[in-house]
Point group: C2
Chain length 227, copies 2
């Protein structure tokens, strides 16, 4: 029996590529909230016909990153403070649930994966690459969802994570000061590897709340500017 395991072949359709590009554009702020997604313009820029682009837009609409008004177009979602509050409230609940599920399933590979992604966060932080820092931080948080052995929970988290990534990205983009290089995740990782469930949950809660207020304040300024 062969011991090597092969990765599935990547979906190599234009649509998938387009989805990736559009998502990245939204999450990095290249497409701002409220902005219209002009099919003809973008399809020309991407050297692609409108069919796969439109299918990609459908996916992102279902993803919640775009909204669609028939015969009017697709728009990048707007961000209001309430959205961020809602996302954080749900995040608390899901994180609690994930920790509960993952607790008896932890093994050495779980701990190794935590460390691996933690390193990536620290690398991005040291490199002052804020976009990547946000991305890797969310990937670190994803570990408990991936290991919780609940496909639906993982799916729900990934949807939420994309929203959070957008909020963070907008926030970082707005403030010009460099990202703080203190390591926020040392305790998070340590407690997840430890034996105290309650402490892990409690710390996760606080960790999530860390820059919540700042984020809401940003959204408020955005809303004020729009008006």
């Amino acid at each position: 029996m062969s011991r090597t395991e092969f990765e599935p072949i990547v979906d190599t359709t234009r649509r998938a590529e387009i989805v990736g590009q559009l998502r990245r554009a939204i999450l990095t702020g290249k497409l701002s909230p409220g902005q219209k997604v002009n099919e003809l313009k973008i399809s020309k820029e991407m050297r692609v016909s409108r069919a796969p682009l439109r299918e990609a837009v459908r996916e992102l609409v279902q993803d919640g990153l775009l909204t669609n008004i028939p015969y009017a177009g697709a728009y990048v979602i707007n961000v209001v403070p309430k959205d961020i509050e809602d996302a954080y409230a749900l995040h608390h609940v899901l994180e609690d649930f994930a920790i509960e599920l993952v607790w008896p399933l932890r093994d050495q590979r779980f701990a190794a994966e935590l460390d691996r992604r933690h390193v990536q966060v620290k690398e991005a932080t040291r490199a002052l690459d804020t976009t990547r820092q946000i991305e890797t931080a969310l990937q670190l948080h994803s570990v408990i969802y991936e290991w919780s052995d609940n496909a639906l929970l993982l799916d729900t988290w990934q949807r939420l994570a994309r929203r959070l990534q957008m909020y963070f990205a907008l926030h970082q983009q707005a403030r010009d000061e460099p990202v703080p290089d203190v390591d926020m995740h040392e305790d998070y990782v340590r407690l997840l590897k430890g034996d105290d469930t309650a402490a892990a949950k409690q710390h996760a809660r606080e960790h999530i709340d860390w820059n919540f207020a700042e984020l809401v304040a940003y959204a408020e300024s955005l809303a004020a500017k729009r008006k």
Copy 2:
């Protein structure tokens, strides 16, 4: 100032219509789990070109009702016991959260809406319309999510509800005995209108578990048959 408020015009594109038809077909079992969705065949039956059909398929893929394999096609998702367990576990968590959020927001309109939808469930039950019974029961459960004032939670619930609707529909379709006409929701509605949060949560938990075991048993038989 005018006092009348008008409803937004319904989106009337073929795509939206197709999404509705396909979703209904899946949720009522007209398209069985694992079955392939042949674009050409269906588009001919619907007298529609493949473009809007494909866009509709993209939406349902994102919805989790279909899976897509590039250059191979879209398939109705398979149901295995683990899926149902996962869905119920998440349902518990969300229901708890929704009750918590909705508790201080309840008013007379909330109670009225609960009653209204409860009546619809009872009507469907009396009419022995199992499909509609499933639909109305889930709509009754939706009330707390709609009133919890958290758009993301509502969205998450609606995705979960569609999965549950599919599971229920498959189950009902498989067993030939008529649906029980006892009213399972009397206590549910009463407790949601009452003053005891803990009791409401506890009952919701039990209510959700009501036919969980039966559903899992069905999924197991399905899995066995497939093998």
